[in-house]
């Protein structure tokens, strides 16, 4: 089973809940919050490996290139411009490879364009792996890194995926790749608004899900609104002093995970 922890709004406790879920399940876990990965800080772990993540872009052989411009014509992102010179902006390249195919003179050869890296950790408590994606600062190709991580872990039968905040394209890609989603929210107007948006994405992705209302005792009124509005089972988690060490919180996460498996069955 592949399971995502998601939720829409940032700061509602997704990663804390993901850390509990990891410790309860002991599954390989992937931190897909590639611009601000931090699940490794929530779990006691040691880094074991690091690998670069690259796209394949073009490198030009100036002796063969006649500046015919075929590669620029097929370059959808505008990374390759050809006029008086052959010019690549590596930051705009999406690695589609069309330019390499289009060149009539074999003047282009594949080259690596780095967009980030993957750090692999071993979690001491569970012995399981944590993979953490890390996009290079300022790079705009977060979706490519998320996809790389999803492809890279495709063969694992049991996987826990911590998504970034929001309801954007990366979250959608993750939801399309999982069997079920644990949706974390809070009883606040902003969290409910983001939750609505996320649930629309979840419906498009057709993923079984349950909702965990974190810090439900913040507001009975807004907790009830969330419960009324979502059409799936919900769980209430209380505010606690030490969220990562709390047995009470862990028990709620366990119940929600059991409920999620029933929903997905």
């Amino acid at each position: 089973m592949r399971l995502a922890v998601t939720g829409g709004k940032g700061g509602v406790g997704k990663t804390t809940i993901a850390a509990h879920a990891h410790r309860l399940l002991g599954w390989t876990t992937v931190d897909l919050d590639v611009t601000t990965p931090n699940l490794h800080l929530y779990l006691d772990c040691e880094e074991e490996a690091r690998s670069r993540v690259c796209l394949i872009g073009p490198e030009v052989d100036p002796d063969r290139c006649t500046l015919c411009g075929e590669c620029a014509r097929v370059c959808h992102s505008g990374a390759v411009i050809v006029g008086r010179s052959w010019d690549l902006d590596p930051g705009l390249c999406h690695g589609c490879g069309l330019c390499l195919d289009a060149c009539p003179r074999d003047a282009l050869t594949p080259r690596e364009i780095e967009i980030g890296e993957v750090r692999e950790y071993r979690v001491r408590e569970t012995g399981a792996r944590l993979l953490s994606g890390r996009l290079n600062v300022g790079d705009r190709r977060s979706r490519h890194l998320v996809r790389h991580l999803l492809d890279h872990t495709e063969d694992r039968p049991r996987l826990l995926l911590d998504t970034p905040a929001g309801a954007g394209k990366e979250v959608y890609d993750v939801l399309r790749a999982v069997d079920a989603a644990l949706v974390v929210t809070q009883p606040t107007p902003a969290a409910l608004r983001d939750l609505r948006r996320l649930l629309r994405v979840i419906r498009v992705a057709r993923v079984p899900h349950v909702v965990l209302i974190n810090q439900a005792d913040l507001s009975e009124r807004w907790t009830r609104r969330v419960e009324r509005e979502v059409e799936v089972p919900t769980w209430r988690a209380p505010r606690v002093d030490d969220p990562l060490g709390s047995d009470e919180l862990r028990d709620v996460v366990r119940e929600a995970l059991d409920g999620l498996r029933e929903e997905a069955a």
């Binding site: 620029a72 411009i81 006029g83 008086r84």
Partner: protein
């Protein structure tokens, strides 16, 4: 010298890549001749206009361009193509802007 002036309305456009019109002038001494006027194919692009317009200007084989301001992607691309990027006050008469650009009397972006 061939100069592409980015035009909006009747004057130099404040924007480079998304200006609606491109006018190409041939400048020799004091002679300024309009050789081509065309719609800017990059004007309506959702993204990446700054790069695409450089490709268009490279095809037009111009030596310089004039606009009110330039984006970073555009500037980098123009530099790689050896096209000088001149800045003129938005609304300036395009012909006058082309002449000043050819004489190097405008500031560069």
């Amino acid at each position: 010298m061939r100069v592409a002036v980015m035009v909006e309305g009747d004057g130099v456009s404040a924007r480079f890549a998304r200006a609606p019109e491109i006018r190409v002038y041939e400048v020799e001494g004091d002679e300024v001749e309009l050789v081509e006027s065309r719609e800017n194919p990059a004007a309506g692009l959702p993204r990446g206009a700054g790069r695409q317009i450089v490709g268009v200007l490279a095809q037009l084989d111009v030596d310089a361009t004039v606009a009110g301001r330039y984006g970073p992607n555009a500037l980098q691309g123009l530099k790689a193509q050896g096209i000088k990027a001149y800045i003129a006050e938005p609304g300036t008469d395009p012909e006058e802007a082309a002449l000043k650009a050819a004489r190097g009397e405008l500031p560069e972006g």
